[in-house]
């Protein structure tokens, strides 16, 4: 198309896009318009006077064609031109950035690797692109993968980079060439940008400097047949023995409909296997896999799909995810307003769970409490905590059938802060003194809860209904509701459980909250919200509105473990992700030797108020046992956040212990792990990312090319590039299009005369 355009209009469309239209002939445009008017008037007059056999319409058409021809001639006589600035040959620089990552060695369908283009286009002897560029510009070559560096020639390329960071490459080239007149950057890559850093950060400085980036996309846009595990979504830490629901995103191209197994294993055994139904070409599908991890410590979980027949890329069929299995015993405070069977049965359900310490504070009379599972005799000795420090020691809080008036206003606010500021989990259970019936509406805690509390129901006798509980679609995908089962078995198990009772009718969740279980009954107009949750501030709140879940233990057959499983998972969910006062994470799950990793620590005091003047030390133990101690500094940008960078050099598991102190007193400590290993990231999403490359070109004023149309690149840089430029006028009067148009107008008049017998 561009070639036809160039044939008709003399120049390529890019010239017209870049140039400003003008007339080079002397005299003003107004003068020329008068000339056109006069000539046109003469032409019209000549047709009007010489009538012959022609009608008025005939004379109108003919005079119109003649006027158009005269106008075209005048247009040419006015010498139309395009004015544009072009770079001065050999006075400007162009940076050529070449992708040096592993994906460049992937073969196309015909078996040639992506590097073949480089060998051909940049061959020192016969490379046409190299020659054309060298004629016009001084070239500077860069190689890049995760980092970019200057090279003298293509012989220095190794194609073993395991990450591609396009932004870092552009930054490095821009900075290196900042002191010279830079016309453009040429980015030759498949466009697979697998860094977390947004590209925009690198494009904005280029836009500001007016340096266009011309991108050359290599490889096929669709690699088929192929199947890929695109993403695995799994938490980075989990309490030992917790049920996990892991989302695995699978995409196929060219394999067609069908199913494939996903095998999940750790270093020792198969943990789970799930069959996933593949989606249409290029459309990702999500497989939900539930699994349970035993044994505290860092674990590597491998997700694998067996190689399918004819697959083009095999290394994207598996992914490995690092997870830390935490073995701590987490404390949950359960406050119950009166002796209730729920206490006994919940305790029974989690009794053999070494990771949960369910501390019970049960009011047995006015001012009298039964304390269970306390750590020492002073714990909760005065009843419910009266200070933030005392309450915030717990990871989560369960409130049973306790009326809101039991608490002081400060305590109610403290409970709300426990969720929003401390990041704790709050669970409210159904009961005579819970929710609206317990006077909780209008308290600071009401806003925290995920359900809408209406007016107290049922009058003096109270409300009472028996309901049958079933999971919602969201519940079926939630670990807390799975009851240790998968797929259709989950719904079937819930169906088999006996009805339970409610005394708090609740049928609405708050905006943003999610219902996981609902209950139905002939006595209810709307379904009862049985289990719902929402994020609130740093924490989460859960409402469990039934009052006798213990019936799920007492009534079903003895081998049915639904009650135990439900509460075990629900309480683990309640404490899952609840932060400690001092925590450390790494910014990447897995790094390569020599790659920079950031340790990010958050430090708070016992009331979870951020601390900025702590002395934070990281003790890093390498796989071979070498210990390095580094000081972690406050970032200043964010309260309580401390960061340090370091580069691991050994392959294997690094252990990072962090300690925070203030005024000689320890605020807290935490541990995390980091796996150092070569990455397979280059084999994921290894097709040509045309959209990314187009975006880079469009946002910087460059153009996108493929090997098929790259020969115009040198000319295009000449027209659109920055650097040392001169203004050039490009005449348009001799465009073949104008000649054809003249011929057409003359031919049309002659043809019309013939048609009408006026010749």
């Amino acid at each position: 198309m561009d070639r036809i355009f160039e044939f008709l209009f003399k120049y390529r469309p890019l010239v017209f896009e870049q140039g400003d239209f003008s007339f080079a002939a002397p005299g003003s445009v107004r003068l020329w318009l008068v000339a056109v008017g006069v000539v046109g008037a003469v032409a019209v007059a000549s047709y009007t006077v010489a009538r012959g056999k022609s009608s008025v319409a005939d004379r109108g058409i003919m005079s119109g064609l003649r006027v158009a021809l005269f106008a075209l001639l005048v247009f040419c006589l006015m010498q139309p031109v395009l004015i544009l600035s072009t770079v001065v040959p050999q006075q400007n620089f162009v940076g050529v950035l070449i992708d040096d990552s592993q994906s460049m060695l992937l073969p196309d369908e015909d078996g040639t690797p992506r590097t073949a283009f480089l060998e051909e286009a940049f061959d020192p002897e016969q490379g046409e692109l190299l020659a054309a560029l060298s004629d016009r510009f001084s070239l500077r070559f860069f190689r890049f993968s995760d980092v970019a560096s200057r090279i003298d020639g293509l012989g220095e390329l190794t194609f073993n980079g395991t990450h591609t960071d396009l932004g870092a490459a552009l930054d490095a080239a821009r900075e290196e060439l900042s002191g010279v007149p830079l016309s453009a950057l040429i980015l030759i890559t498949d466009g697979a940008h697998n860094s977390d850093r947004p590209l925009t950060e690198a494009l904005v400085p280029l836009q500001a400097a007016g340096v266009p980036v011309f991108t050359v996309g290599l490889g096929e846009e669709i690699i088929a047949p192929d199947i890929e595990i695109g993403r695995v979504e799994m938490p980075r830490a989990v309490l030992e023995g917790s049920a996990l629901i892991v989302d695995v995103v699978v995409t196929q191209t060219g394999l067609g409909p069908g199913t494939v197994p996903i095998i999940v294993e750790d270093d020792f055994r198969i943990l789970a296997e799930e069959t996933v139904e593949l989606g249409p070409d290029g459309e990702p599908v999500v497989a939900r896999i539930s699994l349970e991890l035993e044994g505290a410590g860092p674990r590597r979980v491998h997700f694998r799909i067996p190689i399918q027949a004819g697959e083009r890329v095999e290394r994207n069929n598996s992914r490995t995810v690092q997870i830390e299995v935490r073995g701590e015993r987490e404390k949950i405070l359960y406050l119950e307003g009166e002796p209730r069977h729920e206490v006994a049965f919940m305790r029974r359900a989690v009794a053999d769970d070494d990771n949960i310490q369910l501390v019970v504070l049960q009011r047995t009379a006015v001012g009298k409490f039964l304390r269970l599972e306390i750590s020492d005799s002073t714990e909760l000795q005065f009843g419910f905590p009266a200070s933030r420090e005392e309450l915030f020691r717990y990871r989560s809080l369960i409130i049973g059938s306790v009326e809101a008036s039991f608490f002081s206003h400060d305590q109610l606010q403290m409970i709300a802060d426990f969720v929003s500021d401390r990041g704790g989990g709050l669970l409210m259970l159904g009961g005579r003194s819970a929710f609206a019936e317990g006077g909780w509406a209008g308290t600071p805690v009401e806003e925290v809860m995920p359900v809408v509390m209406g007016e107290p129901a049922g009058g003096d006798d109270g409300f009472f209904a028996e309901i049958k509980v079933s999971p919602t679609p969201a519940g079926l995908a939630h670990a807390a509701v799975q009851l240790g089962l998968t797929g259709d078995a989950v719904s079937a198990r819930w169906d088999s459980l006996p009805p339970v009772t409610i005394v708090n009718p609740i049928s609405e969740v708050r905006p943003g909250a999610t219902a996981l279980l609902t209950g139905s009954s002939p006595d209810l107009r709307d379904d009862q919200i049985v289990l719902a949750f929402q994020r609130y501030g740093r924490g989460k709140s859960i409402a469990m509105t039934v009052q006798d879940s213990w019936l799920w233990q007492m009534i079903p057959p003895l081998e049915d473990q639904s009650h135990e499983t439900f509460w075990k998972q629900a309480l683990r969910w309640l404490i899952d992700g609840v932060p400690a006062a001092v925590e450390v994470v790494t910014d990447q799950e897995q790094v390569e030797p020599g790659e920079t990793v950031r340790l990010i620590a958050t430090v708070g005091d016992s009331t979870y108020i951020e601390v900025n003047d702590a002395v934070v030390t990281a003790r890093i133990t390498s796989p071979s046992g070498l210990v390095e101690e580094v000081r972690v500094e406050w970032t200043v940008q964010r309260d309580g956040e401390y960061v340090v960078e370091f580069r691991p050099t050994e392959l294997g598991e690094y252990e990072v212990d962090i300690t925070a102190e203030r005024d000689g007193k320890t605020l807290g400590s935490d541990r995390t792990y980091m796996h150092v290993a070569p990455s397979d990231e280059e084999y994921f999403g290894a097709n040509r990312h045309t959209q990314t490359l187009r975006r880079i070109a469009d946002e910087t004023g460059g153009r996108f090319y493929t090997p098929e149309n790259v020969e115009t690149l040198p000319d295009d840089i000449t027209i659109t590039g920055a650097g040392v430029t001169l203004v050039e006028q490009m005449p348009l009067w001799d465009m073949p299009f104008l000649f054809f148009l003249m011929l057409t107008l003359m031919g049309a008049e002659w043809g019309f005369r013939r048609l009408r017998g006026l010749v």
Partner: protein, 247 residues
Amino acid sequence: MAQQVPQVQRPTFSNALGPRRDPSEASGRWPFYWTRAIYSGYGRRGWGGGGWATDYPKGDRQFLAVLKHLVRLDAYDWENAISLADPELRRFPVLYMVEPGRMDMTEAEVVGLRGYLDAGGFLIVDDFWGQRQWAVFEYNMRRVYPDKAIVDVALDHPIYSSYYDIEEVKQVPAINNALRGYTSECWGCEAWIRGMYDDKGRLMVIINFNTDLGDAWEWAEDPRYPLEYSTYAYEMGANMIVYAMSH
């Protein structure tokens, strides 16, 4: 001048108790039902001892009325007796069994009681005396659990401190014996508190042997009944219930 004392009518159970449970409605309207086990046996109902219905229903109502003043408990005010063979038994996790010294459970009752205890139910046994009655009770419990031991529940067990701090086990007499000034019904025998534990070490049956808590509950309002024993009986009753509902 003598002050006139106003005539105050003592409330009766019939007007002091709350509403009756609607038999067509599922249990659960009240969080706690004081539930009495109905079992098969040799004994006669009523006065003279023997049988599941001893002190029934006055003892149950009176126990609940006092208990609700002592413990913050949202309990059903009325008696609630149910057969060990009834599947609905499992809706009531705390169960009271009285005078098992003449029991002779049917196979269905044995199966029902075993399932109840295995599921998490808690059984309180009371008011049987002497070795002969013990042998009958033990025989029946052996039918439920052939291999589980019946052991003493020592005073350091949490059940003695779950609500009141109980420092000694007292022999609580039936009212007739109390009026005569002695406590034992088996001539010199001592009160024991024994128990049965499940496989995970949880107490699931507490056995009040050679003692009669039920009579103390039933006759606590009688000024002739010794306060020492009725106090102890209510303390023990409150402890057993609070313990059962939290352990």
